[in-house]
């Protein structure tokens, strides 16, 4: 049996806010068990594109998309597909850490419980926190508030919470942008661990970070037309994007000569 190598395939993906075409004509394939980075200048639609992968865009009123996003060969936007199921299989970590105002333990356990987790909850909480490299720091304060730990710890708690659901993909929108270099490093190491089991798509502003952690990179840019829509101008192995980009704009951007 041949494995499909791509978790996501997008075909002619256009994303609208009302009448505004924010992201135009994206055709990329996200490979399995790899880290894919989405980079580009502010406002070019990185977050918008990322949210299209688990239908989180729908929480914003008045958005719609044209084209298709295939997940394991299945179009996520088909009528019969339930967005709740989509988000269950494709987890998300947000830019600003957003733990629930509950205990650390409950933060992780709640996520599992809503999906009817039957096994040993203590074990699941521990293993999720371990995978998120947070266990040693919080094992003695499991029942204190998830908001009473540092920002970096909160972000790893959010990752642990996402893992507890046992998703297939984890989407991360600038997960380290609010963190100091050491906490950032921890998250980056964590991502290397996680990619053994999960496919990861990460949006980042930080070129070094993209170069360090990702296997593939999608370069986004405003397409320069009158509509000011963003699009993916180049998608390739990270290595190639940073050393031998084919697009002049990519070269300018990654070498810091942009704008």
């Amino acid at each position: 049996m041949t494995e499909i190598n791509y978790v996501f395939e997008t075909h002619g993906l256009n994303i609208f806010y009302g009448n505004f075409l924010a992201v135009a004509d994206v055709n990329i394939n996200i490979p399995r068990h790899k880290i894919t980075a989405i980079i580009g200048p502010s406002g070019c639609g990185k977050s918008t594109l990322l949210r299209a992968f688990n239908r989180m865009n729908e929480l914003v009123p008045d958005t719609h998309i044209h084209g298709e996003v295939l997940f394991e060969g299945q179009n996520l936007y088909e009528k019969s597909v339930d967005p709740v199921e989509v988000r269950y299989r494709i987890g998300m970590v947000f830019q600003k850490p957003n733990p629930f105002p509950k205990s650390i333990y409950e933060n992780v356990a709640w996520a599992a419980r809503i999906h009817g987790h039957k096994g040993n909850m203590d074990e699941l909480v521990e293993s999720s926190l371990r995978q998120a490299a947070l266990w040693d720091e919080v094992k003695d304060i499991l029942h204190s508030s998830g908001l009473a730990i540092s920002g970096g710890q909160q972000q790893r708690l959010c990752i642990a919470r996402a893992i507890a659901v046992k998703p297939e993909v984890i989407l991360m929108d600038e997960p380290a942008s609010a963190l100091d270099p050491i906490a950032t490093l921890k998250i980056e190491e964590l991502m290397q661990e996680l990619k053994q089991k999960y496919t990861i798509v990460i949006v980042t502003h930080n070129m070094q970070q993209a170069a360090r952690v990702s296997d593939h990179t999608a370069m986004m840019m405003l397409n320069g037309g009158a509509t000011r829509s963003g699009t993916v101008i180049e998608f390739d192995e990270t290595n190639k994007i940073f050393t031998r980009p084919t697009d002049k704009r990519t070269e300018d951007y990654v070498t810091g000569r942009f704008g």
Binding site: E85, K96, W110, I114, A162
Partner: protein, 428 residues
């Protein structure tokens, strides 16, 4: 002199000795500070006016709740003396036998059945003798402050005008006043029926309006799409909150008392004879007040739900939670303190409402305690309103005492709700 120098002079003149001010010649800081101080004074004075008004209200009520009264005995207590022993000094047994001889045997047995005379204390029996045999009537009353400042004159006046009558200083608000039913004599009138009526009514109001209001708020905030119809609904809920309460009374009369009479009278449940069924019940009153406070509860709950950070909802949905799981586990717990605060305010308003209850058919001449939602009822504000409308002074003293009870009831309900709110307030 240039404008610049002028300004500099002004700044220097506004300095107090010892002040060192770092100013630029162009600074308008002193003008800004002056403006700030002016507004601060305005805010302070509005606070003071509010406090003064409240104090005046409380003093007025207290003034009427205590004071001298002249009591006239219908039957002179001296006639009940036994062997020269006045009533005050007689034993309990003597008092009981006095009651037995003076009252009809039916009345005596009725009293004995309510609570046997063996169980009653001497003080209780003495109170019965006063109430049933001596039968004091109020001749004239004085408010508290006059009673204190002018007691000499009052005593002289009473001795001259009402010779043989008793002048005493009393509190209109007594334990008996709270525990006795309504009566046609001011001395024996009480507000138990009204208190129970108010409590029953408010209970129905809460049971109806709280779940309905919170449910509607959840629907409007979390489920309803942002289309024109829902926008119209939202706007109109705001308008409904401003509709005068008497209109709700008329609405309640039309719907609950008339159209739903079978239900509100209890006839549907076979509790009353359908031919005499009457919709003017506690249930109708409670539902009417429920309708009245519903918009306020909805608006406050919407406000509280909207204040729950969007990031929490995103986190929840991002984990694959359904809308209901998100609402139940995150939105509601975080909005609950705010929802409860809004409900407290709304219910406080409902307790004091009079007009809609009058329209829905509160009665005042009721001495039977309400026993179910289908009972006829009276309520504290109704009782107060009715007493203040009477010409004799003594009823206004009773009304003041009832107002104190109403305020106390209000405060204790609020305290209970605040206690609840703090228990539910977020622990993390």
């Amino acid at each position: 002199m240039t404008a610049k120098e002028n300004r500099k002079k002004r700044i220097e003149s506004s300095m107090r000795p010892g002040d060192t001010v770092l100013y630029s010649p162009l600074s308008n800081l002193s003008a800004r500070n002056r403006l700030g101080r002016t507004w601060q004074l305005v805010f302070l004075s509005s606070t003071i006016i509010g406090i003064l008004a409240l104090t005046a209200l409380l003093l007025n009520i207290l003034d009427r709740s205590f004071g001298y009264v002249v009591l006239h005995a219908k039957v002179d207590p001296a006639t009940f003396a036994v062997d020269g022993l006045p009533l005050e000094e007689q034993t309990k047994d003597q008092l009981v036998s006095l009651l037995e001889t003076e009252l009809s045997s039916g009345a005596f047995n009725k009293l004995n059945n309510e609570k046997s005379f063996e169980e009653r204390s001497r003080a209780e029996v003495y109170a019965l003798v006063i109430e049933r045999l001596v039968k004091y009537e109020v001749e004239e009353t004085w408010p508290l402050f006059e009673s204190i400042t002018n007691s000499g004159e009052i005593k002289a006046y009473a001795a001259q005008e009402y010779p043989g009558d008793k002048l005493t200083f009393i509190s209109w608000l007594t334990a008996d006043f709270i525990s006795r039913p309504q009566s046609s004599e001011a001395v024996t009138a009480g507000i138990r029926t009204a208190i129970l009526g108010s409590l029953w009514t408010i209970l129905i109001t809460i049971l109806f309006a709280f779940p309905m209001g919170v449910g509607a708020a959840i629907y409007l905030e979390e489920y309803a799409a942002d289309n024109w119809m829902n926008r119209v609904i939202r706007t109109n809920i705001n308008n409904l909150a401003g509709v005068p309460s008497i209109i709700y009374g008329i609405l309640g009369l039309a719907i609950f008392v008339r159209v739903l009479e079978k239900l509100t009278s209890g006839a549907v449940f076979g509790l009353v004879d359908p031919t005499t069924a009457n919709g003017r019940t506690i249930l109708s009153a409670g539902l009417t007040l429920g309708l009245l406070v519903l918009p306020v509860i909805i608006i406050n709950a919407q406000e509280a739900i909207r204040a729950v950070p969007q990031s929490l909802r995103k986190a929840s949905y991002g984990l694959g939670a359904t809308r209901w799981q998100t609402v139940w586990s995150h939105v509601l717990p975080n909005a609950l303190p705010g929802i409860l605060t809004g409900t407290i305010l709304a219910i406080s308003r409902a307790i004091g409402e009079t007009a809609p209850l009058v329209v829905v058919g509160a009665s005042t001449a009721i001495s039977m305690d309400p026993s179910s939602p289908f009972s006829k009822f009276t309520a504290l504000p109704i009782q107060i309103y009715q007493w203040t409308a009477r010409p004799q002074e003594e009823w206004r003293h009773l009304a003041a005492a009832a107002i104190v009870v109403l305020l106390a009831l209000l405060l204790s309900l609020n305290a209970a709700a605040i206690f609840l709110r703090n228990r539910f307030a977020r622990k993390y």
